[in-house]
Symmetry: C2
Subunit: 318 residues, 2 copies
């Protein structure tokens, strides 16, 4: 007989805090986990800060993603928020809720995925708190250094080029196949499990003079609309710019879905979308459209080839 | 017929983000809610950062506390963590999960309590994220400026005076009466609903030369043990120092509990406990014991009148 697996209830609160708040050494961490608060160095131009919550059954499923995948995903969502401001994340605070019968190994592996993803940009976990709850909730706050220039959602100007960096629609295609009980194509399933946001492209865009930027977490159309509304412009996306890669075509064919819909509406890849003045597009950024004066009648902050989008839209969390 | 109350599901994600992330103006907030991340100014000596999660049914009950109470309580736990390091909180990030059928008014009132508590120290909400979930979870991260001196759990030295500031046991007495279906004495019920941590006493202690400090969230004995372990000392608490105020005596008498137990083991008042070199006790701090070399045999990091505590201990979250 196998020995019973150790659960969170066995471990108790203090054990889990130590587990999530693995002692970390990084030059900017003056006081790490273990005190009432951590103390981290900050850049002279301030601290970027954001929070993201991920709830089991809404943002992830334990039968679709390994614990390590979930850690990667949750960290990626946070780190991308800092990149989208032109900055680089340096510190994470992890609030973790879970049922008492959750195996300790799940929490350990989730923490390990989170730590590994954070390490990609040099960020570390500096604090944590845990509680029993009916379902798994991971609430992560992230702190980061502003880059050479802070880039906001507002600031885009008519005449700017709209450009993207990173994959679009892959995670959504992965979600679509998982939702139908399939596990392939592997590439899109992996994209759902472990998005690969183009972290370095955030500061790169800021240094190049990006006028506005956002990370794509709700879908290209939805997030470009947020940017356009904040900037009081209309963004037009060229349908021809849609890079519908082979795995997306395959998923579309298998499921009877226009694969371009993944590209236009799929969130969770955490691609970056930014606006650049003409002639300054930095390496690796693909032009996908253009910026225009706002349409005063109606709410068409974003158009596709000059027309309102007619297809299905992105997801709602409630 | 009353119109049906608006629920979170009606409001949708974006409405709720705006609700929780009420636009705030404060000199240190350079970019507030509404972008992918906020940008806040930081002191040249860094940023204190901490996270606390509060789960419905574990940390609060909607039939025991109003939404506004819950906001006050969750914020207080966070702000006290920064005070316990000798600092002052300036920014909060709010992760909020709730069932879709939660009335919007509950979320609004919770946010308003949170904002009001934060205002006591000049802190504001700079970001938020929301998600549907099976139960209400409020995960708040807090950022703060270090004070004149950063005070940790480690650093206490034999010969130091152990001192406390703020109420001890009141919230626990309030919890005890609520758990038995009573609503009075009002003073302790209110203390449970809205703790009053002595925020300013944190920086005060740092300036006065405190060698170690902690906020009492798990109970005096448990938290002093954390401090003693981190400092590698033994802390001795004098039983005579227990300030068992009248409402605690009344609750003890009514429930057949030694009221001193509330004082020794009750958490959630967020009192501060600190160690000071002899002769420097700042105004308002009450001596409650003394610091000694560690006991090498056993784990008696904290003693009461020189002996291990024999009564019931504090709570476990799992």
């Amino acid at each position: 007989m196998q020995p019973p697996e150790q659960t969170l209830a066995d471990l108790g609160e203090f054990g889990l805090v130590e587990l999530v708040g693995t002692p970390t050494t990084a030059p900017h961490v003056r006081i790490g986990p273990g005190d009432d608060a951590a103390l981290v160095s900050a850049a002279s131009n301030g601290v970027l800060a954001s929070v993201d919550v991920a709830v089991e059954g809404r943002h992830f499923r334990r039968d679709w993603s390994s614990a390590e995948d979930v850690g990667h995903r949750v960290a990626a969502a946070n780190l991308a928020d800092i990149a989208a401001m032109g900055g680089t994340a340096h510190s994470l605070l992890v609030g973790f809720c879970a049922p008492g019968d959750l195996p300790v190994s799940w929490a350990e592996e989730m923490a390990s995925g989170l730590v590994a993803e954070a390490a990609k940009v040099g960020a570390v976990v500096v604090g944590g708190d845990v509680s029993a709850a009916d379902q798994v909730v991971v609430a992560v706050s992230v702190l980061g250094d502003p880059g050479p220039a802070v880039v906001r959602r507002q600031g885009a100007r008519p005449g700017d080029v709209l450009a993207a960096r990173g994959r679009l629609g892959w995670a959504a295609a992965g979600h679509a196949v998982l939702a139908r009980g399939f596990r392939s194509p592997r590439a899109v399933v992996e994209a759902h499990r472990r998005p690969e946001p183009p972290y370095a492209a955030g500061p790169q865009a800021g240094a190049a003079g990006a006028t506005a930027m956002i990370d794509v977490s709700d879908g290209l159309l939805a997030d470009v609309a947020h940017l356009a509304r904040a900037s009081d412009v209309r963004c037009d996306i060229e349908r021809e710019a849609a890079e519908v890669a082979e795995p997306l075509v395959a998923v579309g064919a298998a499921l009877g879905i226009d694969p371009a819909v993944f590209w236009f509406t799929g969130g969770d890849d955490h691609a970056l979308v930014a606006c650049f003045p003409p002639g300054v597009l930095p390496a690796g950024w693909r032009p996908i459209g253009s910026v225009h004066p706002p349409v005063r009648q109606g709410f068409d902050y974003v158009t596709v080839d000059g027309e309102p989008w007619q297809g299905p839209s992105g997801h709602q969390h409630f």
